[in-house]
């Protein structure tokens, strides 16, 4: 069964340090697997999509690593890179003002916000990618996160291009107060419209995925996929333990736990994700409807159909 998803070709190997100098990738030669404690050669780990070859532990991925893993080489056009977070509350906590925290996070992560959106090709087929970056304030959902997601979903609905969201998040961003909470409503409302346009939304939940993200766009999907071992839930395990004074069951809130409780469709290993997404798109394409738009159309047709989307990308994108 695992081999089945490889028929579209294996995942794209992740670039190593030399190939992608701007992106933070562990520079150490050796990395210790937090699950099996095995020392792994970092280049080998990178070539295995950052999955431990010994115990199958899925290391967390940066958003751009995820995109590199899924998209055809050089096919990703990023959107809305100029959207910058604001500080509508004049928020400051024990560690200082939100604006300073944003500057520090931007400098450290190399990203302007926690969500990266754009259009890419998978095996030549257009697909909109919306990927959260956990290294940016725990990929918490604030105004820019919500706005970028909604713009992407609107373009998907308009053009009939399917949407793939990849989420990892601590939840809503507290520093933007109720603006953040309202992004839950805003993103779900955009996906309601995408659903009415009968354009598929595939959601991938990765470690860790909590709070306002799990309780909004990330679970409003036609297919919910999770990575093995990912922790996914509404309330965090420590909060639940503190409040209920109960011992949490083994494997609580893991992807496997969610699958057993009927909350997700399927667990897919990272190295099979690309093949799985392509197979799903094939199914919707065969079913007809608007499927010709997002099925395995020849490259030129796809080019024509998404021409305007790519134009949107180059208009606002940095590159």
């Amino acid at each position: 069964m695992r081999g089945f998803f490889h028929r579209h070709g294996k995942f794209q190997p992740l670039p190593t340090d030399e190939e992608r100098p701007n992106q933070h990738i562990p520079e150490d030669m050796w990395v210790k697997c937090p699950k099996c404690q095995e020392l792994l050669y970092s280049k080998e780990l990178q070539h295995n999509a950052r999955v431990c070859p010994k115990c199958n532990y899925h290391f967390r991925l940066r958003a751009r690593e995820r995109i590199a893993l899924l998209a055809d080489d050089g096919s990703f056009t990023e959107w809305d890179t100029d959207l910058q977070p604001e500080d509508p509350l004049n928020f400051a906590d024990g560690s200082g003002p939100y604006t300073r925290k944003l500057q520090q996070t931007q400098a450290k992560s190399g990203e302007s916000e926690a969500l990266i959106t754009g259009i890419a090709r998978l095996d030549g087929r257009p697909l909109v990618l919306v990927v959260a970056d956990f290294d940016f304030l725990g990929a918490s959902m604030g105004s820019v996160f919500g706005e970028k997601l909604v713009r992407a979903a609107e373009r998907c609905a308009e053009q009939g291009v399917p949407l793939l969201t990849v989420s990892a998040s601590g939840g809503a961003r507290m520093h933007e107060g109720l603006f953040s909470l309202m992004q839950m409503a805003k993103t779900v409302a955009a996906l309601d419209r995408l659903g009415r346009a009968r354009v598929p939304h595939l959601a991938v939940l990765t470690d860790p995925c909590y709070g306002g993200v799990t309780a909004s766009y990330a679970t409003v999907a036609d297919v919910i996929i999770a990575e093995p071992g990912a922790l996914i839930g509404f309330a965090g395990p420590r909060v639940i333990e503190q409040i209920t004074k109960q011992k949490l069951p083994d494997g609580f809130q893991t992807a496997e736990f969610l699958l057993a409780h009927g909350m997700i469709d399927v667990i897919v290993e990272r190295t099979s994700l690309r093949g799985m997404v392509l197979s799903l798109l094939d199914h919707y394409a065969r079913a007809g409807g608007r499927a010709d738009r997002f099925g395995s159309a020849p490259a030129e047709t796809a080019e024509r159909e998404t021409g305007s989307l790519i134009a949107v990308g180059s208009e606002t994108g940095r590159d």
Partner: protein
């Protein structure tokens, strides 16, 4: 450009955000069922999610409000410890949100407008709630509200606690009592996470901008219903003011989106989408570079 919420301009004697938190949680503040008793007749509670159970913290049914039949949904806190145990302190479980979702569809089927009263510390954090998909239940309730083709009026009457509150709050009109609060997280949780000190809850409450007046300034809340005296001191008057505001907004919505008009349902959904679509605060560097007005704070 973006409007900033400066320091409070209210007088020295006006209540602080933390005072409002205490008022919003006051045990004698009127709760959902008090509003139902006072404002509606012929209430028929509709129980259960048809799947697992009947949540007692989030209840709903059909009721007559003035001359209208409405579908009412609300969180119910208890008036004493025993009731609070039954009502789980107003913290709904997944079956509560699934019941809400079922009743919303019920309302849409018969063209019945929806009124929701929000008053919860938040959705229940618990092992069972996680097992039964608390997050998914909230998300699906939001999805159904986004696509509902009958008018929805939501009123925050006490505590608007995070996702558990919003789950019945994706409405055409969001009203809020003057001493109610609406927050992304409880001030205690925010203080614990960002200050690493729950004793800073009052500071967090002020910084988080959770009061009705501030949220109205942000354009998120459509109307603040005055409490000349706090609701727990003047329950009947407060309830009547809430009832009048609900009726006024329902009449307005029905005038703009008349049921007889074939396009009204679509226009209503589009208007609801536009309302939430514009909520957010951000800066668009490209728009600024071109001297265009940036998409900034909603309605401001």
């Amino acid at each position: 450009m973006t409007e900033r919420a400066g320091p409070s301009t209210e007088g020295r004697d006006s209540p602080t955000a933390w005072d409002r938190v205490k008022m919003a949680r006051h045990p004698e503040r009127p709760h959902f069922l008090d509003y139902l008793d006072e404002l509606t007749t012929e209430f028929i509670e509709l129980h259960g999610d048809r799947s697992f159970g009947d949540d007692r913290a989030l209840i709903g049914g059909l009721a007559k409000l003035g001359e209208r039949t409405v579908l009412v949904l609300g969180h119910q806190k208890g008036n004493n410890t025993r009731e609070n145990i039954t009502r789980n302190f107003g913290m709904a479980r997944p079956e509560g949100y699934r019941k809400a979702e079922r009743l919303l569809r019920h309302a849409a089927k018969f063209g019945i407008p929806v009124v929701t009263l929000i008053d919860t510390p938040g959705a229940e954090p618990g092992i069972g709630s996680e097992e039964r998909g608390q997050a998914t239940a909230i998300a699906e309730s939001l999805l159904t509200m986004a696509g509902l083709d009958v008018p929805i009026v939501a009123v925050v009457i006490g505590e608007g606690g995070s996702g558990g509150a919003l789950a019945i709050g994706l409405a055409d009109r969001i009203l809020m009592l003057e001493n109610a609060i609406y927050a992304v997280a409880s001030p205690e949780a925010c203080a614990a996470i960002l200050w690493k000190d729950t004793a800073k809850a009052a500071d967090a409450a002020a910084t988080m901008r959770i009061t009705a007046a501030e949220l109205a300034r942000f354009g998120i809340v459509d109307e603040v219903i005055a409490e000349p005296r706090p609701a727990h001191e003047q329950p009947r008057e407060t309830i009547k003011a809430v009832g009048a505001a609900i009726t006024r907004h329902l009449s307005l919505l029905e005038a703009i989106f008349p049921r007889a008009d074939a396009s009204a349902a679509t226009r209503l959904r589009d208007a609801r989408y536009a309302k939430f679509r514009h909520i957010g605060a951000w800066r668009d560097d490209v728009a600024q570079a071109h001297g265009l007005e940036a998409f900034a704070l909603s309605n401001s």
